[in-house]
Each structure stands twice: as C-alpha cells, then as structure tokens.
Symmetry: C2
Subunit: 291 residues, 2 copies
C-alpha cells in the first residue's frame, strides 16, 4: 500500500509514524480468519470469507493505523488461502500499513525467496520474523528501506518464559535473551526499517525494550483475549513522541458479534479501543510535558 | 504418506527408523523449487515445475528415506504454490517420510491452525518448528504421535552464532542456548515424535546434540552447497543403531545438471551421496562393534 503523502523512498518507520498521525490511532486489527466463527449470513467459503474480511476493513479503516493478517490462518484454508488473502489486501486503503504476520526465520536464499513473496507478490509493507537463526536470516527482509521487519523479542504467550527469559552472558554482563535480541535489532536498524514484537501481557519487559530501542516501532499483540491491557501498552510501549507503538487486537474486534449486526459491533469495539489508547496517549504526553 | 508395514498408531520416530531401514538410506532430498533454475525443456510455469519435481522424485525415490519441500519456495510461487506442492506430494511413494520445512513458531491457536494445514490438508509426516516462542508453540505439533516435529537447534548458517551459541544460565550451570533447546526437546518427547535440526556445518555441535538426545531423530541440512560433510554428519549424528540421522541435500541433487539428462545426473548425485553415507555408516558400526 503506498501512502499518497509519502515519497517512494521513505523508510518504513517514518511511513508508520505518518500512518499513525494521519489516523490518530495506534490500533492494528489482526485479520485472523477463522471459518468456524463466521457471523450469521456469511458462508464459511471463499466468497463469504472475503466478504467478511472486507466488511471488517470497511467498518474499521478510519480507526486504525494498520492491518495484520496472520498467514497461518490463510494457509490453513489450503490452495485458496493465498488468493483470498490477495483479494482482501486489495481492499485496504492506501496510507494504512499492512503487516504479514508469518514469524518467519530461514537462511539467506530462502529468506530472500520469502521476502519476494510477501513484499513483491502480496505487496505487504512489513513482516514479522523470528530471530533464532540470527542476523543473516533477518537481513534479507531489510534490503528495501520502505519495507519493515518486526523481530520477535518477548512474545505474549506463557512459553515466552522458556527461552526468551534465559539469562545469557553478553559483553561483560548478563541479560535475558529478549534484551539481547532487542540490542541486536537496534544494531541491525541501519535504514530505519527494523521493529520489535513485545506482548502486551508483559508490560515490564515492554518498558525495558522501549528503553533499549527508543526509535524503533514495537508491535504489541496480546491485548484482549490474551489479557493484555491496551492503555498500559501505549504508556509502556510508545516512543517519546507518542507514536511507534502498534497495538494489535484480533478476535475481540473480528468476532465481537455473530449476529447480523457484526459490522456495527466490530466498528464499535475498534472505536472503543482506539479512543481508550488515544486518551491515554494524550494524558501520558501531557504528563511528560509537565514533568 | 502411510507406510504399508506400519500400524496407524506407530510413533513418528519409529516410522522414520522403518523408512531408513527399508530404504537403507539416510538421504533426504530437499525439494526447493526455483523456477529460474529449470533445466532445458522445462518451462518455469506450473506444469513444468510439477513435471520437474516429479522427475526428481521418480529418479531418486529408491535412494532416499525422505523428501523435504521448503515451503518458502512454494509460497514464493504465489496462489499456485500450494496446489503445486499438493500435486507433487501425491507422487511420493508410500513408506517414504515427508517433511514440511516451514520453520514455524507461533502460539497455541495459530500453531494448531498451521498443524491442521500441514498434517491434515497436505498430509505431511513431519514439520520443522522454531523454538524461540517456547513449549506452548511446539506442543500443538506433537498431539498426533504419528506425526513429528523437528525443532531448530543449531542451524547451518553463520548467523547461528548470534543467539544459539550464547551462554545461558541453566539449572546450576551454564550452557549454550542450542544445548538448552536440545534438553527441552527431549523433555517434550513424551510420545516418540520429537526431532532436532542441527547443521552439518557444525559437526562438534552435532555430536554434542546426539549425546544429549540419544533417541531422537536429527535432521541435518547444510551438506553440499553450504559446505557440510555427508559422511561426517552420519558419524556424528546417527544414533547407536546407525539410524535417526537424516542428511538433507537440496541444490546439489535438484540442479546437478541443466541439460536434458538432468534426471540421470540427479539420480547419480543422490546415489553417490547415499552410498557415501552407507559405507561410512557400515564402517562406523563395525568400529563400534569392535570397540
């Protein structure tokens, strides 16, 4: 999606900041399509699924800065999944950011191949990537400064305690693995297109990552069904100018109602979340100015 | 792929052992389809790509224990990729193991969705998964004991030094992250269907992982183009009975020749690798018996 007011070479982080200012929103809606949860009147087949996601987009496009389709949900639809995704992406207005949530991690040639699929074939603005395989598995996603990569750092699930919190030797000190990932991400951010993923369910770790990465976007999943708090995510996750925290909500918006009024209710949920974060952001910003 | 001589409830690791004994081979051919590298006479379009991979399978099926399609290469083909993969999979003979190389890592509900796509929709026997998000991102792939998950442990690329080798505090001691991943994998292996991925480019680490995980399959990429040694991989990676090391080779077999004799040359490459590992395995086994 190209932003009408953006140069074709504007770095991803700057494009995101513009999208957040234009929309006055930190909200990202996660497009996690689940055929078993379609509302009344929507058939869980190709045209129904497209109709549903387009309805969600039309009802929320003026309330969000970004959409994040989770690729696993589309892949689960089989051969049709990719073309459903393609069709849905075409209905997202210019100026909004699109994030392919694939959590990829693979080495050079494979990563290049995957970057081509996501950035060229599907024209996504950004992708989520897994850091386990190291810098050379991330760099292929950073070659085009206008496209971004969000590196998994501290994820929202309980299993994020298993490895991400292990204390590791680093330089002359010791730090949990997720902090070392955050430092490495900042070091990789030469072109202004590296972000991080930190779950809303771990607000202290979110504050710590923001401190380590003051100028990078942070994608924050885990609000809603998983128990994270949207307003606290903005307080802990926003950069000093109030932008660069992207709070993702999926099921709470998509499946807010299974009745025929699903579009109205989805819009109302999204508006409530946007306003909650906007108010909190204003307070937070005033507080910082006063202090 | 169901194995004719296997009960429908045989655990994945046992099925793999049977496939390796029946084929007398530790070789896995990686189906990394690349339209830009098709041999003469093969058009880089749907039917050509299917024809090429079916040709590779027909030429090598009696020389291998497994095939491993790298999903990123199929996704890069766009909407057609998934159905090309589906068509190719149908030509793999029963009794051989199929591994979906997707290196996935996602939390519960998404992982479940992805497991459904790979195990039910495409009927793969196993998948590669990324451990960064912890146990709850791996467990959904382990629910069916007949299907396996290979957990990335020490990968073949240079970037595997960045995080996988970090010294972490663990219990009362210190160990590199990849060793902690290996220990966790063994702990998760309740049903006999957990494997590990260790690159042939790091033979010492491969020996260390085999010592930590004596009964688990190890998938070994990085032989050939990346510089790993097939025979050494078997010496360091096989279990005490000589099985459970799976050595993957992709480009060295697939793109061995771009002339019209590509099938013959691919077969010859595969046979050479299979024999090299078989001879080495025999020597290694004799050595162990004598010692």
């Amino acid at each position: 999606m190209t932003n009408a007011g953006t140069s074709t070479s504007t770095p991803f982080t700057q494009r995101l900041r513009q999208a957040q200012r234009a929309s006055d929103s930190a909200l990202c809606v996660g497009l996690d399509i689940d055929p078993s949860r379609m509302p009344v009147g929507i058939a869980p087949r190709r045209q129904g699924l497209v109709r549903f996601l387009r309805g969600i987009i039309e009802s929320t496009a003026d309330l969000v800065c970004a959409y994040k389709p989770n690729l696993a949900f589309f892949e689960a639809l089989g051969a049709e999944g990719w073309s459903i995704l393609h069709e849905v992406l075409l209905s997202i207005p210019d100026g909004l950011i699109t994030i392919a949530d694939g959590k990829r991690g693979d080495i050079g040639s494979t990563a290049e191949r995957y970057a081509a699929a996501v950035f060229q074939e599907l024209n996504f603005d950004a992708i989520t990537v897994n850091p386990y395989q190291g810098a050379d598995s991330i760099e292929p996603y950073l070659a085009d400064q206008t496209r971004g990569a969000f590196i998994l750092c501290k994820t929202s699930n309980p299993g994020s305690m298993d490895f991400q919190e292990l204390l590791c030797r680093f330089a002359d000190t010791e730090a949990p693995l997720f902090e070392i990932v955050a430092r490495k991400a900042v070091a990789l951010d030469v072109l202004g297109n590296v972000g991080l993923v930190v779950g809303a369910t771990y607000p202290e770790q979110l504050a710590r990552v923001r401190a380590l990465a003051p100028h990078q976007p942070i994608l924050i999943p885990g609000v809603g069904t998983q128990g994270g708090d949207a307003a606290e995510s903005i307080r802990k996750g926003a950069a000093s100018d109030g932008t660069l925290a992207i709070v993702n909500v999926s099921r709470q918006v998509l499946y807010a109602s299974s009745d025929s009024n699903w579009e109205t209710i989805a819009r109302s949920e999204a508006r409530g979340l946007r306003d909650l974060m906007r108010n909190d952001q204003a307070e937070c910003f005033e507080g910082k100015s006063a202090g």
